[in-house]
Amino acid sequence: MFDPIAAHEASPGPMSVPPAGHGLSLRQWAVINIALAGLLMILGGGTPLPTLVGAVTVVLAAATGALNAWRRVMTIGSGRPHRGILDLLLAYDILLTWFPGFVALCLAALAVVALTLWPDDAWLRLGAIAMFAYQIGVIAALDDLSGLERATANRHT
């Protein structure tokens, strides 16, 4: 039987290869970009700059994530007969593909909103920026979520 998790572990995910320019992988670039955005937000202090950086990052992450998730959803269940709209496997795969990214985006957006609502609370700002960076990291890592492997599995079976 095809094991999607084992297949994922064995296969190089889209975030881990190929190495982009300057010898860094896409995953490493993602980490550097997120760290830089976070640093900019910390250094920006109470100015509108951190909010702007955060908002732009969220919008970009949303656009990229939506595109990736859409591509993945298009391949789900393509290799087997559907069982109507109540097809549990299909619903589960679609939910698993869309929902974690949607949640991460909402939490990242909430963190940016927290920055604008409490600009003077240093600890809250730091917490919000940490949450923001974590959630953007989650969105970047979502590319290799099991939805893709499951869809592949469905195609194979």
Partner: protein
Amino acid sequence: MDFPLFHADLIGNRAIIAVVATLHVLINHGLAVGMVPLVATIEWHGQRTGDKRWDDLAYKIMLVSFIITTTIGALTGVGIWLCASLINPYAIGSLIRVFFWAWFTEWLVFISEVSLIVVYFLTWRKWMTPALKRRHIRFGFAVGGFSWVTMAIIVAILAFMMDPGSWLTERTLFSGVTNPIYLPQLAFRTPLALSMAGIVAAFLTACFTRRDRAFQQEALRAVNLWPLFWVPLTLAGGWWYASVIPEAMQANVGTALLTMEFEQWQTQLLEGVVATALILYLISQLGVLRPRWVPRIAYFAALLAVIGLTGQFERVREFIRKPFVIGQYMYANGIRVGDYPLLKRDGLLRHSTYVYPLTENELSGVLPDRLDRLADGKTVFMVACSRCHTSNGVNSVVARFEAMFEGTWEPKLLADYITNMHDVRPYMPPFPGNDAELLALSDYLIQLRTTRQPVEGAQEVGVAINPRAVDAARSAQALLSERGQR
């Protein structure tokens, strides 16, 4: 005032019902209402994929739920009735009069739920053909549906106790059920139950799938998706619920969150609650994205946290409706708002069917001329204070006054404070009796402080029929016959 009063003077009456009711809510929400649909979904998933490991996992989770719900869950369910009837028979009496048919329906649904859950669990390993398996899964969803209906009926009563709404003027079952807090509270509790079940199931899944790491990750990912989906809906329902809570109740939140001594910690505690909920959510999120990064102890911590948060929520809900046990209708001491003018005029003791005589220990060292007054004070304490306060135990009335007056305990000082205490502390009911009873109560409180004797309830020392109440009843009867003859 027509029932002999049970009283637990060490831990307090509130603690008994709080422990039993909170335990029941945790089991009902986390292992029945929320868990059975999740288990049935896992079983359905197993049937669709043809992977028996899903079916085994669902069975093991159901085994735990079945054992706990049919033992502790059932006992605490009955226990709530026993405790509520003992501790505040007036409130439960009024609720039965309003919600008789609702409770009757709930009983029928509950019996069906119990029968179905037994069938669901005991046929699991026997109904293995595809057709029987499909029927079995349908049974699972039916159990979930029945569990939800029982919760939906009880939530109507809980919400009614907070704000009866138009029932106060219309006095019908329909107006009682359609109270302003009902739907918001139901919209909060339904996803809360489903979220709790997901967190419990994640811990159980981490325990039950240890030997198959590959399946463990797939199962944890699926199970963690459940709370990830329901928690935002819980927050939305909670927001709606909070928005309909009357202002007077919201003012009690500070004390309700902890105790009176820690009122100023309200902000910190709320921040702690928000942070805990966020961490719980992040655990579920990481459980979906990278299941192997989340250790089993994290799921256990999440389980403890969700128990703590739900327990705290129940405490706050119970407390903020004070000074009422049924909003605007009955005070926490079990005396109806509408009876206060009569009791203020005639006095509590004239309408109290039973009196609570002083015990041997309480009698020792008391001068004979004070005996009657102290006996009156004890009965007033039992009727007006003992539903919430103990003498020297938890939520001790002596400790409360010591914190305020320290060494200077004068009957007049205590009486003045008690007269106005509902203005100073909005969660306290006004004193229901007359001035003489107020002074008798003050005397008795001073005696309690001096002797440190526990106040024993009717279950330990019994009660006596109140001669004044008998006289009052005879006078009323005579008046009625006189009017009838005219």
